[in-house]
């Protein structure tokens, strides 16, 4: 708290206001998840009742499990494809239309999710694919791989080309030079990209609801349909768990990037 004494009152006030605006709703949600009362808005004392309720709610547990599986698989595939795309775009020979490809990679970042979701749905219907786990995973991969590519590409762009040349000069063929030098140096960005993809997939509602099938609802879909029937404090409990999970992921990611980027450059910001 000592540091705060050096800030002016105005700065303290604006900081407090900003933080309150961001985190007060979340804080209230977390506190009310420990509410003993049946009503979401009435405080009835501390209790872990709704956590218990959640762990006994088969449908919710299944939806959570589904979401985790989708997030891990789509983040992993997106990281692989996104990294390859970033490497190709920043390290490959200059080819015709490279700028166009680069721009096209960014397009999904600004594309309305409804459009992405709808187009994927139409594609899956046209292909007569059975909608479920794999269609959601593929849909999330297409959404998140461009985030990974952007993060990794920015890191590659700041990397000195002569490092790879030095590795080749010292006896590595191009592939080994990439593995021995480039990969360790862009690893923080790859990890950050995976984390980003994971969290994006975990909280996506729109695309998932377009591309999922019966019996394979993800957690956001499940929560959304529950809430339409009225908010139960159980939802608060689930949300608190999700917040905890994401907070943990972010802490781990920032620690990992701090540890691995010993050259003073931090990983690309999330």
């Amino acid at each position: 708290m000592r540091k705060f004494s050096r800030l002016s009152r105005f700065n303290v006030a604006s900081l407090a206001l900003g933080l309150a605006f961001l985190y007060l709703p979340i804080l209230i949600l977390v506190i009310y998840s420990f509410n003993a009362s049946r009503l979401v808005t009435v405080w009835g004392g501390w209790s872990l009742r709704w956590y218990q309720e959640f762990f006994n709610d088969r449908a919710m547990i299944e939806a959570s499990w589904m979401s985790l599986k989708v997030a891990v698989s789509s983040a992993s595939i997106a990281t692989l494809i996104g990294t390859l795309a970033a490497v190709a775009l920043s390290r490959g020979e200059r080819f015709r239309g490279r700028t166009l490809f680069s721009g096209m990679l960014y397009a999904p970042l600004v594309m309305p999710e409804v459009i992405s979701g709808l187009s994927l749905l139409l594609l899956f219907v046209a292909l007569n694919a059975e909608r479920g786990f794999w269609t959601v995973t593929i849909a999330h991969t297409t959404l998140t791989m461009c985030f990974v590519a952007v993060v990794v590409q920015s890191r590659l762009g700041s990397l000195d080309r002569s490092l790879e040349e030095a590795a080749m000069d010292l006896g590595c063929d191009p592939v080994r030079a990439f593995v021995a030098v480039t990969l360790p140096l862009i690893a923080p960005a790859i990890v950050a990209g995976w984390m980003l993809a994971f969290t994006l997939s975990l909280d996506d509602l729109v695309i998932a609801s377009f591309t999922t099938g019966p019996g394979s609802a993800t957690l956001p879909i499940r929560i959304y349909s529950e809430v339409r029937l009225g908010v139960k404090p159980e939802i608060n409990a689930i949300c608190t768990l999700v917040i905890g999970l994401i907070a943990m992921v972010i802490v781990v990611a920032s620690l990992a990037s701090k540890l691995s980027s010993s050259q003073g450059e931090s990983a690309a910001p999330l």
């Binding site: 490092l163 030095a166 080749m168 010292l170 080994r176 021995a180």
Partner: protein, 390 residues
């Protein structure tokens, strides 16, 4: 310097198949090498021989193609034309890791995620060398560049001079047949640069290795190299020892690029034995020594280095038996530039031209100094002049 070498029948193209390894065969032979980027001809037909054990400098202004030539030797660029023969074997199209050549990069390109030791060992680990042997070689290299005690540090924990040493050790560790150095001292400050120059020369002599250095700093090239190749617009303008380059430049461009020079344009008027008289616009008739390759009539430039021009108040002191044909120019001191060891005077000649004279400050007290607007005589001998084609 070899000009246009005829394309050989390819008898030495096969790996290791040089039938007659002559004793004076160059280690590296560059034959008519050219490289074009888009429409820009970066290297335009360069031919050059480099002997084993040489310390060779490629000197030139930025954009002259010297770095592109070096990168072709290292294998980062493939020449569009010509051959590069290392020990008789054509390596022009070989990949960097297939060449027994190592390079020290301008920004050192040290691997930031590896320690000093691992940086130096990086190239050795790719040779299939035994672990013990690698450790010995690394220790040897660390001692060679005097980095003992810093083996575990990461590059960002080192000073600029230390990084330069790590880069050197890393490039030398594989004992390459040829070491390429791309502006190796550009990032160091002046004092450190000078001491490092000496250390590099010492090292090169001790290891008996062949070094090719690229630099835009002519003093650096002069100090270190046994031979210098001056490049301009993708071509080798002259290949010579530092002394030859300075005292007998081949062209006006080289004379102006290397060091300071006074140039007087004129036409040859008459020949008197081994003396030539050239009538110049700015300095009148100048008597010069005939160049080694005889020249005919035509337009010439007379070039004189500033330190070859003597100044005096009344003119050359006549010594017994001294040359009678001395060039004498009169004028007034127009500008004085005190540089410590020497003072440069700009003399405005009565004939209208300008001449620059560099005078050693051999005495501490300025008894011999000239003052602004003082009338002086600038004089020099015919042998101090170089005749260049205009």
């Amino acid at each position: 310097m070899a000009g246009e070498l005829p394309k050989t029948d390819g008898a030495v193209d096969t790996a290791g198949g040089d039938a007659h390894p002559a004793a004076d065969q160059p280690l590296l032979r560059i034959e008519g090498v050219a490289k074009t980027f888009g429409t820009f001809r970066a290297v335009d037909g360069v031919s050059l021989d480099i002997k084993a054990g040489e310390f060779f400098a490629l000197l030139g202004p930025s954009g002259c193609g010297k770095t592109t030539l070096l990168r072709m030797l290292a294998g980062f660029e493939a020449p569009d034309e010509g051959r590069i023969l290392l020990g008789g074997k054509d390596i022009a199209q070989a990949l960097p890791h297939e060449r027994p050549i190592n390079m020290m990069f301008q920004n050192y390109a040290l691997f930031p995620h590896l320690s000093v030791r691992d940086n130096i060992a990086f190239g050795l680990k790719r040779t299939g060398m035994a672990r013990v042997e690698i450790a010995t070689r690394v220790a040897e290299m660390v001692a060679l560049v005097k980095l003992e005690g810093l083996e575990k540090r990461k590059p960002d924990q080192l000073s600029g001079g230390q990084r330069q040493r790590v880069a050197l050790a890393r490039a030398l560790a594989r004992r390459p047949q040829l070491l390429l150095l791309d502006e190796p001292l550009a990032a160091l400050d002046k004092k450190l640069r000078e001491s490092t120059q000496g250390e590099l020369m010492e090292l090169q002599r001790r290891l008996g290795m062949t070094f090719i250095i690229v630099t835009h700093d002519q003093e650096e090239a002069m100090t270190m190299a046994s031979r210098i190749g001056v490049m301009n617009a993708g071509k080798l303008a002259q290949v010579a020892t530092p002394r030859e380059l300075y005292e007998a430049p081949r062209s006006r461009w080289i004379a102006e690029f290397v060091g300071d020079i006074n140039l007087f344009d004129g036409e040859s008027k008459l020949r008197d034995g081994h003396r030539l008289v050239i009538g110049t616009r700015d300095a009148g008739a100048l008597v010069v020594a005939e160049p080694r390759e005889p020249v005919g009539a035509g337009k010439f430039s007379v070039a004189i280095r500033p330190e070859k021009i003597k100044l005096s108040r009344r003119g050359p002191v006549s010594e017994a038996g001294h040359e009678t044909a001395i060039n004498r120019l009169e004028g007034v001191v127009a500008d004085i530039c005190y540089l410590g060891g020497t003072t440069t005077y700009k003399v405005k000649l009565d004939s209208g031209g300008m001449v620059q004279a560099s005078v050693a400050n051999s005495a501490r007290l300025d008894v011999d100094a000239y003052s602004l607007n003082q009338h002086v005589v600038a004089w020099f001998t015919p042998d101090d002049c170089v005749v260049l084609p205009s």
